[in-house]
């Protein structure tokens, strides 16, 4: 068994490493949130939203039913119907009478403007939501606002996100290696005691089982402490200090459930790996007398 101070320092180092990972993960999630907010809202609108184009053949009652059905999804706070004639008026005001003549009144679909509820929406969730909306009967298309950005801006945004995701994976691997080696080093400090146990005739299992359990406890505790640190940091410290100078209406994503589970899982996996790395220490014949 490790000495209390050594155990405390190891635990602190593990929690700190996992906190760094959790913090970076949350930054990446916020980056994605900013990106989605950008692509899903038209310029000038405060909150992100979507425009759903529906079949113009739907009558008013059918349209209302469809609208109610969409609002059952807690992701949306409001839905407003934009009839075809209003859409044409809007086009006229934006592009002028001449250009708007290219559209016939009957050819314009009815539009439903949906407003997102505040909260976090991951990239996958956002894309799933779009697909879900597009598959609904009566829906012709969904404008997610991608047109509001130039292809160059979209490409830069995509690239930044890809790099951030790649870096996140790298940090994940580095933290896994760091935690596992921290645990191995912590056990290296009690090599003398392990040698004594071997000389006294302790079996491999009898020596390894407590080491494994101790490593596992380090991983689990370190993961939980890291989740606590990161949650506090992003839900209290960052918003109050306005560290990223984000607009007031932007609600920052805190450590998500997925990230928390991954963090705890990584803590456990890395500690198991760390404990397994001590196996040669347990397995090899006693070296000292």
């Amino acid at each position: 068994m490790m000495r209390p101070f050594s155990a405390f320092m190891t635990l602190l180092a593990i929690a700190f490493s996992l906190s760094l990972l959790g913090g970076f993960w949350t930054v990446v999630e916020n980056l994605e949130k900013v990106r989605i907010a950008g692509i899903s809202s038209l310029p000038g609108e405060g909150l992100p939203g979507l425009t759903v184009f529906v079949d113009p053949k739907l009558n008013k009652a059918e349209l209302e039913t469809f609208k109610s059905e969409l609002l059952t999804n807690p992701r949306f706070t409001s839905a407003s119907v934009v009839p075809a004639d209003e859409a044409l008026d809007s086009l006229k005001s934006q592009f002028g009478e001449t250009l708007s003549k290219a559209f016939e009144e009957s050819s314009l679909p009815t539009a439903l403007k949906l407003q997102f509820a505040s909260g976090t929406l991951s990239r996958t969730e956002f894309l799933n939501l779009l697909n879900d909306l597009r598959s609904k009967p009566g829906v012709l298309d969904v404008d997610e606002g991608l047109g509001a950005f130039s292809p160059k801006e979209n490409a830069v945004s995509e690239r930044v996100f890809s790099w951030a995701t790649g870096l996140l994976l790298l940090v994940f691997v580095v933290v896994a290696l760091l935690v596992s080696h921290l645990i191995r080093l912590a056990f290296e400090a009690i090599r003398g005691e392990i040698e004594t146990l071997k000389i006294l005739g302790a079996s491999r299992t009898r020596i390894f089982a407590p080491l494994f359990l101790e490593g596992l406890i380090f991983g689990i505790t370190g993961g939980l402490v890291a989740i606590f640190f990161v949650s506090i940091f992003f839900s209290y410290l960052v918003p109050n200090a306005r560290l990223f100078m984000l607009p007031a209406q932007f609600e920052m994503a805190t450590l998500s459930l997925n990230a928390s589970i991954s963090l705890a899982g990584l803590g456990i996996l890395a500690s198991v790996a760390g404990a397994l790395l001590t196996w040669p220490l347990v397995d090899q014949p006693a070296q000292e007398l």
């Binding site: 146990l197 000389i199 006294l200 014949p285 007398l289």
Partner: protein, 256 residues
Amino acid sequence: MKDVDREFVRNPESLLKGKAPAAKLQALVRVSLRLQQGEFVFLTGPSGAGKSTLIRLILGLDQPSGGEIFTMGHAVHKLNETRRRELRRQIGIIFQDHRLLSTLNVYENVELPLHFAGLGAKERQRRVMEILEVVQMRDHAGESIRSLSAGEKQRVGIARSLVTCPSLIVADEPTGNLDPVTARSLIRMLRELKGHGTTVLIATHDMSLVRDFGGRVLELIGGSVPTQTEGMRNGSAYKVPRFWTGADNPNSGVDL
């Protein structure tokens, strides 16, 4: 032990690097000896004579370069690591530096070999308390190892080696950190175990102990055993534990 050689390579790195042939050190040269059951034996010799090497070989902590070693009827040189560990569980080992686990208290340290032997909780408690009584450490059972003096630590180490009633006790410089009075008392106690069929092998360079106590003396010089003599006898203030004598009769403890 028959014709045992143990050769060490002084500079093994040079072998790996393919440089000049590494110098070899002959720690033991064709050592042959036999310990009878219940014998009390001193292994003496100057530093570097090979005492610790010989003990390591007997315990299966090292592999001979040549020859055969039988410990308690087992051909140690042929055993795998698992079997060697099993064999060591049956041997009481006393270290010069006591080798107690500082994260465990006195009781837990002494209890360790009984855990390895798979004894039940009640039996473990009974034996530990009794052996702690014998080494006069019962009152310290719950104390941390760090709070003990060198002599007390060594007594705990001796209690740990005796608690399994081993038929062979191997001690490597067991009195190195003890005052003369404690050292003599503990050697007396170990010597009296031979009356219960326990073989005791003590490696020491303290010739005054060898002179004062009975038993066979093996002197290692330059890796071989040229001389064997007989020592003297004396009495002890310690008692052999009752569980050692195979009975719980309060009168079965033997005054030493």
